[in-house]
Subunit: 339 residues, 2 copies
């Protein structure tokens, strides 16, 4: 079944299995469907042996009609080794389960064309709805339109014509984090993140500083990885005038910054305060525990599933608010934390 | 399509779409299949609008024959919020991609019956092979036999009759970690883990101590979570005679232990040394960086995919060796680390 023969052999049928096992076709069905009639254990074993031997696979479409297929949503998310997307996928799994849907998770780590192919593959697997957390582009929108399957876009920052979209308020969350550092008395606050014109977190950082009449602190570009944050933290340590606080655009980057500070012998928060982004489980157990902006993964997951289950206006777009989780890396005393 | 009507409406056909869009059925096919003939952009848009309006979904089986379906493996793993399983799923995704297979990830967080249902659902989605990382039990083995789809069991510690199985050498890895702590001069080495008669890591810890004529140190039961490790670490701090080193059965638990030690003002490694298990990315960025036993996820993933792609003796079982990654939490100086 995992070969590439141009002319595949005829698939074994239920009748073939029945003949091989010496039972009636009905008994094959009872065995495969675990009912409606009971099958004696020995007979069942014989049928299963025949199924194995012949490589019989009950026809999916036929079984869908006869025994009901588990309802399934497909979700397409980037590389799950990023805790944010792992959290998001997990929250959606929970939300889908409460509505009776299982989840097929397809991770991607490639160009839009690869994402488009994943969308087509999910459609061919007859999922009942799709959730796509990818940057919007023509190949992806084309593939979604082509499948005709109800889809909700996740993790978007702007509305998308024709497809419901949901996103976190990255801009508002960044502003709140930076305002918190300003409240702690910091006036030179650096930024660690993947820089770009559309980066809502960088914009929130800059605007919160401007609103307090503060100059932007030093900026260190970093990929969304611990390694990226570590290298960025090392670069910030070499600034002629070091920042006294750093806002990082993800917890992974913040954890990397923490390591760079520890290695440089800089105390956190007394030497340099740090705030991360995402609210990952890891952030709670870093040393010191990271103050971070919690992404609204549970709210986004619930709404996404709602929109797949019940019809909605197709171009709707909702931003979900973030929550600042205050722990120790910002300079707040222990015990004022939420945990 | 996401409703529960007992009598679903007739599905739109290709002919319906053609009529709605005012094109020939062939043009609908060309649009859906992106070939073999080109379709003018305006026509393509009209067909896509018709597909959307009618909720048309090309028949999966028919498309399988006509345009070829992406080959897919299904993998069933516990809750992906555990980094070990996220790593394993990711390594398998990579290994599968090199063989031209995409991966459907199904997470479970329930009893064996739920896992068995996930297996049946994957089979109905016509995956070309399955990888199952679950504790072996009758409902699961029954479901695998029933589907007749080639399956490899992952993360097993013993052979399973009739199904190829692969696992990490947890016992050997634990012994190596504990021997390293003994080499550092520790004689009172505690254990943090999920206790049970089959726990290979606890057995490795005990046997390595016995081989050095050392008594087992204090044991603190902990679930495979950071919280579990944290609580266990706090309990070890209250022992009448504290251990001078702790071996934890996962990095998540070790990270929790680190936090308990930091909060108690105990230096790591000078007060208490710590070694974790798994080799998670998080372990490299804990403070201090965790010495840990790296799970053979890449080796296991490669072999699992090999076994799905090429036929093997069905009851084969392979243990893959682990690797001790020496960082600072064990007492080794910085710079002797692998990173």
């Amino acid at each position: 079944m995992a070969t590439d023969d141009a002319t595949p052999p005829r698939r074994a049928t239920r009748a073939d299995v029945a003949r091989y096992a010496g039972v009636s076709p009905a008994v094959v069905s009872y065995t495969v469907n675990a009912g409606p009639r009971a099958v004696a254990p020995a007979t069942r074993a014989r049928v299963q042996e025949a199924i194995r031997a012949l490589g019989y696979r009950p026809n999916a479409a036929a079984r869908t009609l006869k025994v009901g297929l588990t309802k399934m949503f497909g979700i397409i998310v980037p590389d799950s080794s990023n805790p944010f997307f792992a959290l998001l996928a997990h929250a959606i799994e929970d939300a889908a389960a409460t509505k009776g849907y299982a989840l097929i998770v397809v991770n991607f780590d490639g160009p839009p064309e690869a994402v488009a192919n994943s969308i087509r593959s999910l459609a061919l697997r007859q999922v009942d709805g799709m959730l796509v957390a990818a940057e919007v582009s023509m190949p992806i929108l084309g593939a979604i339109a082509e499948t005709g399957i109800r889809t909700v876009l996740l993790n978007q920052t702007v509305a998308v014509q024709g497809i419901p979209a949901i996103g976190p308020d990255l801009y508002g969350g960044a502003q709140e984090a930076v305002r918190h550092l300003i409240w702690h008395g910091h006036t030179r606050i650096g930024y660690v993140g993947e820089l770009g014109p559309g980066d809502q977190r960088q914009r929130g950082w800059r605007d919160a500083l401007a609103a307090a009449n503060l100059e932007p602190g030093p900026v260190a570009a970093a990929r969304y990885t611990r390694e990226g944050g570590y290298a960025a933290g090392q670069r910030l340590m070499r600034e002629p005038i070091r920042p006294t606080a750093v806002f990082a655009s993800s917890d992974m980057q913040a954890v990397g910054v923490l390591r760079a500070l520890h290695e440089a012998g800089v105390g956190v928060p007394e030497g340099i305060a740090v705030i991360g982004y995402d609210g990952s489980p890891e952030s709670e157990y870093s040393w010191p525990a990271l103050t971070t902006v919690q992404q609204p993964v549970v709210d986004m997951a619930r709404e996404a599933v709602e929109r797949l289950v019940a019809p909605v206006e197709s171009s709707s777009f909702t931003l979900h608010g973030t929550t600042l989780i205050v722990r120790q890396s910002c300079g707040c005393p222990m015990g004022s934390a939420d945990d």
